[in-house]
């Protein structure tokens, strides 16, 4: 009986996994993952990890996945276009290679335990009572750190996704800003190593203004790292920007 249940749960889990990976619509992918998680909960039950199974359903499928659904609804994303990058073929190949390796490892292992059905267990194995007792005695440190981690993650999420005060989203067109030519010697790591490229471009174009961001609105953007600028005045005097531009380029 447990074998039948095992196979059903395993197949559902695998199908769900494949669904996550292949479905184009992200919402469908999320739903496939939910299905997979529930199947996995069944597998946990078969392994007599009752509390873990419950937590899986309640927390994971019930909490985390719902969060995912919200974000998918907000972000959208739609159907994505499969890109023609080499990883389309190499990716699955790597995964297959890894799978083969792990299977070889598993089959050739010296662990005798996996051939059996498991050790003898006490009554109440996997009970919330047992789990709770372990959490509060042997694994107290992990418990506390995990709670701290949750706190940090919650705060972090708020910080990341908050609205900047005074910032009207439509005014700063980051996309256009990114598309415009970047002034020389500004930006991120590119500036540190792209100097030579910039110089070559300077020589080729023969004029500095193109690369120096001759378009006025670009000058406002220097120095920039996307998304971390604090309150900035959209209308700055050109003189100031010229100075900051020179400073940034110098």
């Amino acid at each position: 009986m447990s074998a039948v249940l095992f196979f059903i749960a395993a197949i559902v889990a695998l199908v769900g996994a494949i669904g996550v990976v292949t479905l184009r619509n992200p919402l469908y992918a999320v739903l496939a993952l939910v299905c997979h998680l529930v199947a996995l909960a069944a597998l946990f039950l078969l392994l007599r990890a009752e509390f873990v199974a419950a937590a899986q359903v309640v927390v994971y499928a019930g909490g985390v996945m719902v969060l995912y659904v919200f974000v998918v609804a907000y972000v959208g994303g739609g159907d994505e276009v499969a890109a023609g990058s080499s990883l389309r073929i190499l990716g699955p190949m790597f995964a297959v290679a890894l799978a083969i390796e792990l299977f070889i490892a598993m089959l050739g292992t010296g662990l005798s335990g996996i051939k059996g059905k498991g050790a003898a267990y006490t009554l109440g194995f996997g009970n919330p009572e047992h789990i709770g007792k372990l959490f509060l005695t042997d694994y107290l440190f992990a418990f506390e750190v995990a709670s701290l981690l949750l706190l940090v993650a919650a705060i972090g999420a708020i910080v990341l996704a908050r609205r900047r005060r005074g910032l009207e989203e439509d005014e700063t067109d980051f996309r256009a800003m990114r598309a415009a030519p970047r002034p020389a010697y500004t930006g991120t790591l590119a500036e540190a190593v792209g100097v030579r490229r910039v110089l070559e471009q300077l020589e080729q174009t023969g004029s500095a203004t193109e690369l120096m961001g001759g378009v006025p609105q670009d000058r406002e953007m220097t120095p920039t790292v996307i998304g971390t600028r604090d309150a900035k005045e959209p209308s700055s005097a050109p003189g100031d920007d010229a100075d900051s531009g020179e400073g940034g380029e110098g």
């Binding site: 890894l98 490892a105 050739g108």
Partner: protein, 671 residues
């Protein structure tokens, strides 16, 4: 007190003087001159004390060493701070400190208006200290140290007026050639040390006859290298080109360093190391030949130069040629005797030259000097005394000492006799050029400056200029001061010159052949181990007196010839010059030594330098080594950088690949 205590005291006073003046006086202060003179005066007193305490002993006990501490007793080198007080070093000490005291006294007046007065006395005291280290040193290491210090002091003093480019150039030239000598000295020491395994003098001399056989290669090589050092320091051909240029320094400096003391260090070297030279007669021959060559070459050049200080410089070179010739041939005490008398009359001549240069408001050209006899009687008298002593006229000191050397050479026979005869020719030239100088400067119609001085007023140049190249300068620090001093008006100068004149007159009486032998008697104990200095090689009294008379006659012939050319029939010099223009040009260009050295050594070295810079530095080091290293790093990092695409999925692929590799590793290692 023991001689070595006196010896340490002799070293102590100039050291204290240097430190006191050097650290105590940043600006002009008259105290610097007084402290400097007093320090050297005390050193002279202590040298006399050393002499007296040494005379109390006798024979072999007259060689006393004392060592303060050991620098280094590792690897078998027993270098210690050691002095050796024996008759030779006491003799040198007395000459050095005595003449230095008088020159310090002279300088207090001569340099009075110079802004660098204190610096001058600090340097001068340092020089005396270095020279004393050199002569008192008891082992090769101290000798080398003193040698190097003296070279440094000479550089500092030649380029004393450091804002004159001519002076700094001359200083560098002197120093570079001196360094060549230093290298020779150090290498020579090594050649000797290899076999004797000790650097102390007494130890080396004791061991030398046992470890070297006559004319053994290492010994000859070592002695030749010592001779290189001696030639560089004593301005012998071909390392002599620095001495005439060294006249850029102040006149008292020229008189002390480049007449009386530093340039005689080469002679001292040969005399000190005579046990080694005895076993290597080849080196002695080389030294004698070079000495003879120098005295002739210098004598001929002195006939045509027009700068008064350079005439005296070339005469110094010539006289030291005599000393080197004598010392290499074995006439050690004669060479030292001539060193002493030469110090007297040459210092006197330089001092007198300083006086007349002062009267000429800094100009040194003989072409512009004439008729100073009436205006500067004291200077004239000093010049005459010095000139007579230099030309070898009885009863002046130079007569006895110079002919002492020539008589010894003639007595030795063989090639040395030829050198002796050449020495007589040199004496003729000496008389000629010395009195050329005196007649031109003091006889004839008085020049404008002389006329001014007769009226009681020293000539004063409105615009100070560099006498060598006529560049305009000023009178602030780094250039000579505005005032010029002449002997007639400065008591300090008069005292110094007067004392030297007296010594120049009576100095020869110490070693009249057959009459007394103060010098040889005193030095005899140090030279007891030298067969060449033994009585067998001494010329007989008769032959010595014959030599003396011949020398006197030759000197008089030279003076008469000079009188005829320059006073009797004025204009004959110009006629000689017109008749033999090529000879004149050859001599005026100093036998083209400077040009030869430039062509053979300076230009190839510069070319090598340029090549090294262009090829080795730029291409190999910059391009290859540093450029290569940075290039490799840069291209390596560029290659690695290409993995940083910023694309998440590639990073993830790398992670999974890594994971696979790790799993593979564990898989393989477990089977």
């Amino acid at each position: 007190m023991s001689p070595t205590t006196w010896g340490w005291l002799v070293l102590l006073f100039p050291l204290l003087g240097t430190i006191a003046i050097g650290l105590g006086f940043r600006t002009y202060s008259r105290a610097a001159g007084m402290i400097g003179t007093a320090a050297i005066g005390l050193a002279f007193v202590c040298a006399v004390g050393a002499l007296i305490s040494l005379l109390d002993r006798s024979g072999a006990h007259r060689e006393v060493t004392s060592s303060l501490w050991n620098y280094d007793v590792s690897s078998g080198v027993d270098a210690g701070l050691q002095i050796l007080v024996d008759p030779v070093s006491v003799f040198m000490m007395l000459v050095v400190t005595g003449v230095s005291t008088l020159i310090h006294l002279y300088s207090t007046a001569y340099m009075r208006s110079d802004e660098g007065y204190s610096r001058y006395f600090a340097y001068l005291n340092y020089f005396v200290l270095s020279m004393l280290i050199l002569v008192l040193g008891g082992n090769f290491v101290m000798l080398i140290i003193g040698w190097a210090f003296v070279g440094a002091a000479s550089y500092m003093l030649i380029s004393f007026w450091y804002r004159r480019t001519t002076a700094t150039g001359a200083g560098i030239k002197a120093f570079v050639i001196n360094v060549l000598g230093d290298v020779g000295l150090v290498l020579g020491t090594f050649f000797i040390f290899r076999h004797t395994h000790t650097v102390s003098f007494l130890g080396s001399f004791a061991a030398a006859p046992h470890v070297f056989h006559t004319d053994s290669t290492d010994l000859v090589a070592g002695c030749l290298l010592f001779l290189v050092g001696a030639f560089a320091k004593s301005a012998q051909v071909p390392l002599h080109t620095w001495l005439p240029d060294a006249m850029e320094g102040p006149t008292p400096v020229s008189s002390l360093i480049h007449a009386a003391t530093m340039v005689t260090a080469g002679v001292y070297l040969i005399v000190r190391l005579h046990p080694l030279f005895q076993i290597a007669p080849t080196a002695g021959e080389v030294g004698a030949i070079i000495g003879c060559l120098t005295l002739l070459i210098a004598g001929t050049i002195a006939l045509v130069v027009t700068d008064i200080k350079r005439v005296i410089a070339y005469s110094t070179m010539s006289q030291i040629g005599y000393m080197i010739m004598g010392a290499s041939a074995g006439a050690y005490s004669a060479a030292l005797f001539h060193l002493m008398t030469h110090a007297f009359f040459k210092a006197l001549l330089f001092m007198a030259a300083g006086s007349i240069i002062g009267a000429m408001a800094g100009s040194q050209s003989l072409d512009r000097m004439s008729g100073f006899r009436k205006a500067m009687p004291f200077t004239f008298a000093c010049f005459v005394v010095g000139g007579l002593a230099l030309s070898g006229i009885p009863p002046f000191s130079g007569w006895v000492s110079k002919d002492d050397i020539i008589a010894y050479l003639n007595n030795r026979g063989g090639i040395y006799e030829v050198l002796g005869i050449l020495g007589y020719i040199g004496a003729l030239l000496t008389g000629l050029y010395t009195f050329r100088m005196i007649f031109r400067a003091f006889f004839g119609d008085p020049s404008p400056e002389a006329v001014e001085l007769e009226h009681g007023h020293i000539a004063h140049a409105e615009v100070p200029t560099n006498p060598a190249n006529g560049e305009v300068e000023d009178v602030e620090v780094g250039f000579p001061g505005p005032e010029h001093a002449i002997a007639e008006r400065e008591p300090a100068m008069k005292i110094a010159m007067g004392l030297l004149a007296v010594l120049a007159v009576i100095g020869g009486l110490a070693q009249l052949p057959g009459v007394d032998h103060v010098i040889t008697g005193f030095l005899g104990s140090s030279l007891a181990d030298a067969p060449l200095a033994s009585a067998a090689h001494e010329p007989t009294t008769t032959s010595a007196w014959v030599g003396l008379i011949i020398g006197a006659i030759i000197g008089l012939v030279g003076i008469t010839a000079a009188y005829t050319i320059y006073v009797g029939r004025v204009g004959s010099a110009a006629r000689f010059q017109a008749a033999l223009p090529w000879l004149h040009r050859f001599l005026v260009n100093k036998w083209y030594f400077d040009e030869a050295i430039d062509l053979l050594i300076v230009r190839p070295t510069l070319a090598i330098g340029r090549f090294t810079e262009a090829v080795l530095e730029r291409i190999v080091v910059f391009g290859g080594v540093t450029g290569g290293v940075t290039g490799v790093v840069r291209s390596g990092s560029a290659a690695v950088r290409r993995a940083q695409t910023g694309l998440l999925r590639y990073y993830a692929a790398a992670v999974i690949l890594g994971l696979s590799a790790v799993v593979l590793y564990f898989l393989i290692s477990s089977t």
